[in-house]
Amino acid sequence: MTGIYLISAFVIAVLLFIIRKTVLNNILIISFGILQVSFTLYACYYYKSSTLEYFTFDSMGLLLLMTLSIITLPALFHSYLYIERHDETPQSRSIYFSAIVVLITSITATYLANHIAVVWIFAEMTTLSASMLIYHHRNKLALEGTWKYVFICAISITFVFIGILFLSLALQHAGSDDLSFANLMANKDRLNPFWLRLAFLFIFTGFTVKLGLVPMYAAGVDAKDKAPAPAGALLSSVLMNMGFVGIFRIYAVVAQTSLFHWANIIIFIAAVLSIFVAAVYMTKVMNIKRMFAYSSIEHMGIAMLGLAAGGIGCYAAILHIILHAFVKSSLFFQFNQLYRTFQSKSIQYAGNYIKYNPVGAVVLLIGFISAAAMPPTGLFVSEFLIFRSLFEGKYIILLILVLFLLTIVIWAFGKNIMKILFLPVKGFDETKVPKINPWESLTQYLLLFTAIWLGLNPPNIFVHMIQDAVLILPK
């Protein structure tokens, strides 16, 4: 079934690219949505089994795959609306959807892959398809964003590759040449620490471009700014989770060796610097999309803190990235309605949104409350657990520093959102504001309430799966 899924998804992508008839395109897009959902159901049914040798439906992969599929459907719907409204040529429409299909398929494959080389190959494919999405508008700024993204991703992917080479050297001491994660786990005591250290360093640095951490975070921000908002929603949620999976799987191996504490220190440094960077840029940013992107960087930093702190933090980290994916994608979907109202990305020219589109404004408000992790939202629960794990792990100074930086982030984020929602802009021509259909916000509400529901009242199966996913980490 995995083979059928991959092949038919790529066939759909190629057909979308070739066929430029509107009706056929729509049929293909709907069929891809059905394919994605049915593959997810199949994966749930065959939980914990392996297919095609390189793919395993383990808890971690399955949790993120379900997140991906839940976000895919609104993403396709909003992409459809976006393309309809912008008078796109058939060519740009078919390239856009073809790239989206390839992106979602390769993210799915990366989640489920149990071999580091397969993860690497599909991570490369996400770069390729994401760059097509970023270049969608084909103007100078889009080209600049695409160039930066492609170039930095190419460097990062080279870093991951050299990390894999070091990993293979580490593994040669164990007398084995199978780079699957299960085999790495089995040989954990015989891996050469020197090579493993270099391997972790390079693989971690390489995947930070997808995860959005220091040092490679910058390209992702430009990418989310220039890509159309529905594609930006994917880049800012599920693609970041893909970076998390890449790091998590290699971290799980390193955590079993003598390098455990060293790896934690590396992650702490990167995470705290990311939150710091997010806090600094948040205070100055005037572009709404980039503001959302910096907020994503902050959340990924928090999730990595939880992972490195250990204990309940590992559980909370996975919960955090899942809930963050729902919240951030709904904010990005909302952005298009906001843009149609004000015809500007800048916070300066946006204001009193609640008057023009009250339904959308409430999405923005709930999204902000969630992203700021205030009670009673889902992210509050996960963030609280992460801070608890930092407290229990005796990282008090770190905790104080992070809380201080978070205060700055929330203040800056809140100031901007309140301005957009309630403060009227001088000289704004109200007659040109289009009527926005409130039903378009339905998917965003569903995503936001899923995040709240999963945080406050998680189903037992969900909790068990996360606990199972972190079982491979040391206590």
């Binding site: 490369e124 700024l141 293979s168 572009n287």
Partner: protein, 210 residues
């Protein structure tokens, strides 16, 4: 023989650090391609013949001929000036690259590993960091791309070191090469040459937070 070739590989890095003309970079990339071609032939003895042929074809066709040829075509077509325009003087470049090589040699001496020929490790890491240094200190987009291609050659050297045990990793390296060449060179450098007339990174600073 392999050692001699790899030492030439390192010496070329010093030469490139003081090179003043872009075309020298292109020639060096071609030379690196030829060296990799020969090293592949000498080093990979235990792998299947068809796989060896594939790898050697890739090094000679892609690294040694097609990419340098395409780069010089781009330089002519976009009328890129011949200077490399570094931010730092050549003398400092030379010192920094010497430091990179010395540090990697020291790092390599600290490992006790019988599985790996240390010279591969030294050449690979110093080429990798030299490439990164070029990306950081040169002004033109095309020199950034050349720095990246140099990095890739460095990674390829390391993949050859483990190539006998894991030939699939060398194939992955080839995939990376093709991916980068097609995506970076083919689509975007062409496009950027059309859209931005003078190809300087100064022009790529319009994406801002406000």
């Amino acid at each position: 023989m392999i050692n001699t070739l790899l030492i030439i590989f390192i010496i070329v890095l010093f030469y490139v650090s003081i090179a003043n003309r872009i075309i020298t970079y292109v020639r060096v990339l071609a030379l690196q391609g030829f060296i990799l071609f020969t090293v592949t032939f000498l080093q990979l003895k235990d792998i299947q013949t068809w796989n060896l042929i594939l790898i050697m074809l890739e090094t000679i066709v892609f690294k040694a001929v097609a990419v340098p040829f395409f780069l010089s075509y781009l330089i002519k077509r976009n009328k890129i000036s011949r200077e490399t325009e570094p931010y730092l003087p050549h003398f400092i470049s030379l010192i920094i690259i010497t430091l990179i090589v010395v540090v990697t040699v020291l790092l390599a001496n600290s490992i006790k590993d019988t599985h790996l020929d240390k010279i591969f490790f030294i050449v690979s890491l110093s080429t990798l960091f030299t490439g990164l240094y070029f990306i950081a200190t040169r002004k033109k987009i095309i020199t950034h791309v050349m720095g990246y291609l140099m990095m890739e050659n460095g990674v390829f050297v390391l993949s050859l070191a483990v190539g006998n045990e894991m030939p699939n990793l060398v194939n992955l390296g080839i995939m990376l090469d093709v991916f980068a060449s097609v995506l970076i060179l083919g689509i975007f450098l062409n496009k950027i040459g059309d859209v931005f007339k003078a190809v300087d990174i100064d022009q790529l600073s319009n994406l801002k937070d406000y």
